[in-house]
Symmetry: none
Subunit: 314 residues, 5 copies
């Protein structure tokens, strides 16, 4: 892949990226390799199942598919449909993961919050530790970082402990990098290229091995509010993702889909993400808000799309 | 129990739930089994006596029955009437429990607060530790979580330490899951189905072994303020409880009665709670605000109702 | 002492209280017994000399008796007049107590603050530790708890460490239980029966061995602002004290006099306090704001009053 | 019970002993009370089942009753026959106790050894901790102390940590007090009154809550080798036990039977032990080296004998 | 020195003060004696050179004498002019002190702040530890306490750690006691007799060995805003200092000059300070904002004044 021109900027090819696995210490490498090659679609891709909506949004997300209210539904799905890993909070990991231990890797989300208070000053505090993850046999730790929140000081301090423990225990660190908070809202909000790009870089600099980003949305009205030169750039969504992936450096990037969309859109998006340099996807509601057989079916199609569109060696 | 229809949703039967005791580590199992089978009404039920009103409300709750001002009154009641356990704060546990040590199990409440400041930003900080509970011979630890409070970050961080210590010492964790705070008030307040359901799920995901909930109240005016789909659901109180019990997953649920009501109402409510999948009740003022003999009598009737209406294997 | 009628309530006699000393662990028992029997007036009474006005109010309290500005004045007074103990902050304990070590017991006050900021959000942070108290040979630790302050969360968390260290080292814990803060001001302020009663109970439940209370003041205007049933009760000051003493349960209660009053009033108040179930008094300015000989004289009279009016076995 | 004359010595009645439970801190009291009153024969007695022969002697003890080789046999026996507690090593507690958690109390033996090397220099090192006991929900900790062994220095040092942790966690400490070693052999061996009496006192002085002793055997040849005045005393076995029980002070004493004897002898011995001031018995091989029904039958008879011959309030 | 009359109050002579050195533990005594007798003017005086203006005010203080911008200038001055000690922050101590190690004692300032935010809520957080001071061979530790700031709670808590570490390592503690903050501004501000007097007492009670005060300024308009009896007192500046020195008890007091004044004023002030009971001076800008030779000259004159006016034995 040759250099890409965005406006007047020359962008370095992703192929120039050194492999992440080559730079990782043994424990992190051992564990992350399981997700990339031994479980899930393999071939260096990641297909992750998040099961944290119960605390992040409350039980309301389970109503479209009442079976999904029993956490066992998603755990079974993760194991039987062949995910690279599932991601959940401590209580679920302790009660529901044991039945699937060894059948599907676990990413322990160590922080979380409800969506009841406003997110002006968003902060997600730790309810579990990296040592909990080690004890439970997890293969990675997940952490939500609210980039730009007025509470970022506490957030970074807390992340420091998690990162240090990940280094100490050889545990891969997956950062959910979410731009958030009142100050950011005044600069175009959480979905601009500016915001997503900053989040990607921040996560990388804070020590992420894998960065989870939301898809940037191109909206000229909002982009005008972002700092220069973002306010004057004219990029497509694909270019925006590609740049954000680059901002994450050697860290791998997975992107998420958000609320439920059509099958076509899911597959189109997956292809798009992989072509833009993503290492995989993290789809929750788009999968488990379906009846069992439908869920298995769409997962199979996502897998095929991931494998067909790999552009990056992890 | 067959499938239950709520609106158009089919809800999984509680009988499908895996037993909690089967999933617990030995220390937690040993201790929780004592409450469920060796003390109290037994047969997998819980009849808990809370003695924390002295700090949560101040001495005013003792005025209707002045004898109750001496903590020994409630401790003696717990032991002689045959409760599954009593729950109190550290000072009472250290001074009054020794006389009843071994006669009735102790749940040490490790956090608490007065009701003097407003609860807009409710937070109950720890005044005792899980190690205190171990040292005093307690069989469980109690923690109040204010779900949705603007201070939830501190709350979850604090709970993490308690939960980890519970894991370390094999101590069952009982979470008083109370929706609370200014942000929630704007979404219908603390008694809606939405609020109680979210609290149940939150407590489970944070690692509760037993969740204490308040009874949801169906109030169309308040329900309108809750997020979709709660604002459009038309459920009875019984259905609401049943769903909240499900949201707590494998964690057992006990429900409380709040301020004093008539005997008939107490027994009716107990039956109702058990039929909706509850594992027991936690009645404080409804019991000890009565003279001694009356208290013993109502306790006996509650016991009978608990045993007659068991619907769930713990 | 027979049953006492307050309105329509019959109150249990204090004689029914189990002895505090009987329930204490050996280290606490050893040390507290020194204050109650070996030093001071003895016979289970407490006559405490507080020397913390220098930080709580600043040096202005020393102007009426300039000799008192030299801390040695109060230390010498405590030793020579035969107090049960003196209470002071760390700096004074390190510099002035050594000359009187062994002659009069020391209560190390471990927290304190100036009165310069408003007390709307009062919090007194720790400037010394229980281990400091052990090292200095103190026989008890003093802690000021601002019951009902919006900062009560931090207060209770901090007290927990102090209480646990007291348990660990066998050190008696004396809690200065002061209702305080903006929320309380809206409920009648810090001197109502409601406020003092709540403070007494709170201190007991948080693990106090001895509770220091201020005298409640009966003021119908303020009482109207307190929660039911306090707002409708018609109690005398003596009844209010008696009840607050009961709210402290097995913990002993000492009461203070506040700013300087006449000799007659001091003695009348002392008798009154003891008859209401108090275990002693804590008079500071009323004593050391006098010239040496006058101070010795009033102390002697207070001692006689304490011994003549004992109603409770510690 | 009046004074007893042994030779020319008047022996204080055991009834003069202060209650052990009254002197224990809350956690120890809670847990020990369970063994004495809530489980087993009750009424302050102890019927303990030791399951430590597998390491102390090797599997050879299981050959007389091959079913007993499966540890579940003894665990089930402890639970179904209604023992006060069972005592075993860490591996058995982790693998077999969970099925009986809460049904019968656990005493975790924290040290142990094989009988392969000679016992000239006996020392039993710790293979588990008091914290393990807490985590597993045990109600007491067991420790074997080899009184008089040339390795006693290491033994006492190790016991100190166990004892401190027992104090910290409120865990009762049961000391298996065994006279042992080459030096003792030169003074009459491990079964003399001298040796047992010394062991009882040693265990008490080291902080035992319960002391497990072997029955002294009166053997004039061996007694001659003991230090004065033991070498000149002429006591019966019952008097020897009574004195050893007194040497254990406020600690309770249980006695064991050793290798299998006839039913008559077992029951005779049980009565004898209780009349001499013992609080119970610890019979292992005498029970589980029998077929299931025979075992249940003898246990029932032992229970009756214990309850019929109580002479001491714990 | 006879008694001094202030209004109608008789003030105890400072000669009645017990020696500070006599009350110190060996490590503190060893180190402080170096400053008082082995370095600097000696004879129990202190001439301290503060070099913390770079962070407290920024580099602007160095512009009057550009040579002073190189920290080596002040370090060399401290050593060559024969100061009792210099006081600076960790970075300077690590980079510049080694060249003068042993030539002049070091006081490590462990907290500091910029003057960019307003001082309404002043708090100076620790950027170094007492252990750093030990490691660097310092002879004392400096700490800035903002007496009366709304952040005083955090300040006192932080000071507690510093004080405990000073006790642990035998390190003298010098407290810069500065009245500060919005609440104090409403009571006359930071230069009144009231404010300085309170600060002196506070520092002493918090464990200072040496207290650094600013000179009080008599301003009737401001004094009216102070609490009684300060608002009605009519004292000279000298009397105010003398009283503040007394409020510091056995702790030694040094006073500072603030911004640059004339040579005459510096010497007049030095004499004045010593006659009022001060133990020395801490002059920074008044010295190093001069060219090298002028600086050496004024230092020599200050030394002579200190030695000629000693009124207190340390």
């Amino acid at each position: 892949m040759g250099p890409i021109m965005i406006g007047s900027m020359e962008v370095k090819s992703l192929n120039a990226q050194k492999s992440l696995l080559d730079t990782l210490a043994p424990g992190k490498r051992t564990r992350l390799r399981r997700l990339l090659y031994e479980f899930g679609p393999g071939n260096g891709t990641l297909m992750l199942l998040p099961i944290d909506q119960g605390i992040e949004h409350g039980p309301r997300d389970f109503f479209p598919n009442p079976e999904s209210k029993d956490p066992d539904y998603q755990f079974r799905l993760a194991a039987e449909a062949g995910y690279s890993a599932l991601a959940c909070q401590i209580g679920m990991a302790e009660r529901y993961y044991p039945d699937y231990a060894g059948s599907v890797p676990l990413i322990l989300k160590v922080n979380g919050k409800t969506d009841i208070p406003s997110s002006d000053n968003a902060l997600s505090t730790c309810n579990a530790s990296v040592e909990d993850a080690v004890r439970l046999g997890a293969d990675a730790v997940g952490y939500t970082l609210y980039v730009g929140s007025p509470s970022q000081g506490q957030d970074l301090e807390q992340l420091r402990q998690v990162r240090q423990d990940c280094d100490r225990f050889g545990m891969p660190l997956v950062i959910w990098a979410y731009p958030r908070g009142s100050a950011l809202d005044a600069k175009g909000g959480q979905t601009t290229f500016y915001a997503i790009d900053y989040a990607a870089r921040m996560a990388m600099e804070m020590g992420a091995d894998v960065v989870k980003l939301n898809l940037p949305k191109i909206d000229p009205e909002k982009d005008k509010l972002t700092p220069a030169p973002y306010n004057e750039m004219d990029v497509t969504q694909e270019e925006a993702i590609r740049q954000a992936v680059e901002s994450a450096g050697r860290a791998l990037v997975v992107l998420s889909g958000g609320s439920k969309i059509s099958d076509e859109k899911v597959l189109e998006q997956t292809e798009f993400i992989m072509k833009a340099g993503g290492s995989g996807v993290i789809y929750g509601r788009n999968v488990w808000q379906r009846p069992w057989n439908d869920a298995l079916e769409i997962v199979e199609q996502i897998k095929q799309s991931l494998l067909a569109n790999v552009t990056r060696v992890p």
